[in-house]
């Protein structure tokens, strides 16, 4: 019997709560993310979207509830497994590219170092793999360039390549395209969509932008003041946003 059937392959967030000082950032949030879907998380600034991503990534511990990754408890108020053991990757809002590493260096750092006798052959394999990945995001000609030598779109592609290089099962994206112009944004959305589909990767996507929602998401979760206001499927996008978060939708120019 194949191993996969023994556990449910998804991220499950159960009644998560988080406060900072006296302020309740998240309150009783529950959601699920399957390996092959793109879930968009929307809501006004300060509603707790980024905090939720950080909790799922394991950078912070929840005050209540728990997070399961593939049926294993990853986070709870008393227990938290390390971020690198969660089979997920993240594209940060400011990209968080390492200024002292070249494009190639970024990927090689993620792919890691082998020990002992296999070190040399592993380095060769690692180099081949990094080159292939950079080629895929059209950065092959820029692989020895540092982040400050890359254009906005190239930096974005490098951030995507880095996130994918660890072969994550889930990808968290925190408004990654907010500072891009329409053309590059479109290109990135297509790239993410293509890679997500090919790899059967679950994507949790935080955004403010209605166009991005329509282009990427299979499902939408609306957060409001740390609570889940609504969750709906792709077809119910417009209605959900219009009815349940009308002020937010109007602000963003949605129908």
């Amino acid at each position: 019997m194949p191993k996969e059937i023994w556990w449910k392959s998804m991220i499950t967030v159960e009644e998560i709560g988080k406060s900072l000082g006296d302020r309740q950032i998240l309150n009783g949030i529950s959601l699920e993310l399957s390996p092959d879907e793109v879930l968009a998380l929307v809501g006004p600034s300060g509603c707790g979207k980024t905090t939720l991503l950080r909790l799922i990534a394991g950078f912070e511990k929840p005050d209540a509830g728990r997070i399961l990754i593939d049926d294993f408890e990853a986070s709870s108020p008393t227990h938290s497994i390390e971020p690198h053991k969660r089979k997920l990757s993240m594209i940060f809002q400011d990209l968080a590219l390492w200024p002292h590493l070249s494009a190639m260096g970024h990927i090689e750092f993620v792919l890691g170092e082998a020990r002992g006798k296999q070190r040399r052959s592993y380095r060769e394999r690692r180099s081949v793999e990094a080159t292939e990945l950079l080629d895929r995001v059209r950065l092959k000609g820029r692989m020895h360039h540092y982040p400050h030598q890359l254009s906005g779109g190239e930096k974005q592609r490098l951030a995507i390549a880095r996130a994918l290089s660890s072969r994550p099962a889930y990808l968290l994206m925190d408004e990654p395209f907010s500072s891009l112009d329409t053309e590059i944004k479109q290109e990135m959305i297509e790239l993410i969509g293509e890679i997500g589909e090919k790899r059967r990767m679950g994507i949790l996507y935080v955004t403010h932008n209605a166009e991005e929602l329509a282009a990427i998401a299979d499902r939408v979760v609306v957060l409001k003041a740390g609570r889940m206001a609504e969750s709906s499927c792709r077809d119910a996008f417009s209605r959900t946003l219009h009815v349940l978060s009308a002020p937010f939708a109007r602000k963003r120019g949605l129908p």
């Binding site: 950078f59 969660r86 990757s89 890691g112």
Partner: protein, 525 residues
Amino acid sequence: MKLPRLLAPALFILIGLLVLSPLTAMIAGSFAARSAAGDGSTAHRGLDLDGRLFMPAQRSLAIASGTTVLSVLLGVPSAFFISRAHFSARTRKLFSILSLLPALIPPYIHAIVWTHVNRMIKPLVGLDFHNIWGVMFILSMAYYPFVALTTRSGLDSVDKNLEEASLLCCRGWRTIKGITLPLALPHLFAGAIFVFVFSLIEFAVPDIMRVHVYPVEIFIQYSAFYDERSAAVLSLPLVAVSFGLILVQKRIMKGRSFVQPFAGLGGKTAAHRGRFLSIMAASFCFFLVLLSVLIPTGVLICVAGPVSTYIQALKSSGEEIGYSLALACLGSLAALIPGFGAAYIRERSKSRGTALLFFIGLLPFAIPPVSMGIGLIGAWNHPFLDLVYGSSLVVVLGYAARFLPFSLLMGSAGVKQLNPGIEEAALLVTGRWTHILAKILLPLMRNSLAAAFFVVLILSFGELGSTLLVIPPGRETIPIKIYNLMHYGADGTVAALCLLTSGIILSFFGLFLAMERKLGKGSVV
């Protein structure tokens, strides 16, 4: 913003007067004819120093290198633990403050403490501090906070997202090795260079520990052999090496601020957590505080003895304490005005002229205290300048000149934090530059100004090397009194005065912390 036309020339004159006049006098002295005791030969040839020059130079380099290595070994883990271990905000602040204390205590007090320790433990374990290893250790105790402070500033300025991006794929140790430390490396190097330069030009500690190093040789040439020319000639290579290193340091830092003491407090980075790390961090930080603050204080208290010693010390040295305080305050103010002025025009007009002014202002970092004293004598010891040289003004000028770089760097860090748009917005309302200075710039820079004032005040209060040469007859500052009493063997009084001096310095520091709390965080040192 358009600056007043006379500001740059006025600053050139002021900084030239403070820094270039003693330096020029020192260089001119090295070319001058020998004094009556000499043979009348000119220029640098025929310096009668035979083999005695080589060993002190070698020792100075060895001490500077060893002190730097030891300071890095102590300072970097301390910085990492304070910045990254999972401490509560209060514990982190406590360790931050405690880790600064050894740097506030003048190095000669550290030396006095360890001579007493040496006396106590030598018969028991045979360990002797009166050698270059002892000097290295003592200087490391005094200077490791410089490495810790700059490294912590580097660590605190690392964007937490950069570390978290790595933690998603790697273990904590790989993140530290591959991301955190390389990003903080420029700050670490900057701190290490500070320590190397300070140890290279240090006079008091090797002198107290009876280790014959290069700056001691300069002092001997001047005060024992009355050979001003040899002393000046000997100073030049030290100035050149030190200034070369300061330039390297500026290049490494690429305009970053050296230190932001309380930035990032309150658990900004949630990266490297774990109970084991926290326990290890707390133990290491406590061990350092024990070695560099608690043991020295305990030793001084034991040596000083009963309360009557303190009362006696206060009675006999009250005048010197007051005199030192007055001079240090004046010196601090005298360093603040040109330092902040030059920093401001450097940051706002990136011309070659302002860059030159900035570099001139940094020069005193590289001038050994003894050489600064010799330069001050050469510059101001003229019959028509008796008003300066014959009074305490020369000491104030010495303080201002020696510690001008601190004021300059803090001013530069303060101005960097100011958005130029703030001044431009004010310019739309008023064209009066003084008005903008008084109502906009100074209030916004008050934290940096306060920090610079207190740092220069503390350093001036403990200054010994140059004051020893230029103090007017019949006057004594408290470091000179301690230095003289130490040679008469008055251990109890010396220990009491060391404690009183340290207490006064710590109260300055406390006052600064209280002011900072009142003014709001975010000052840049």
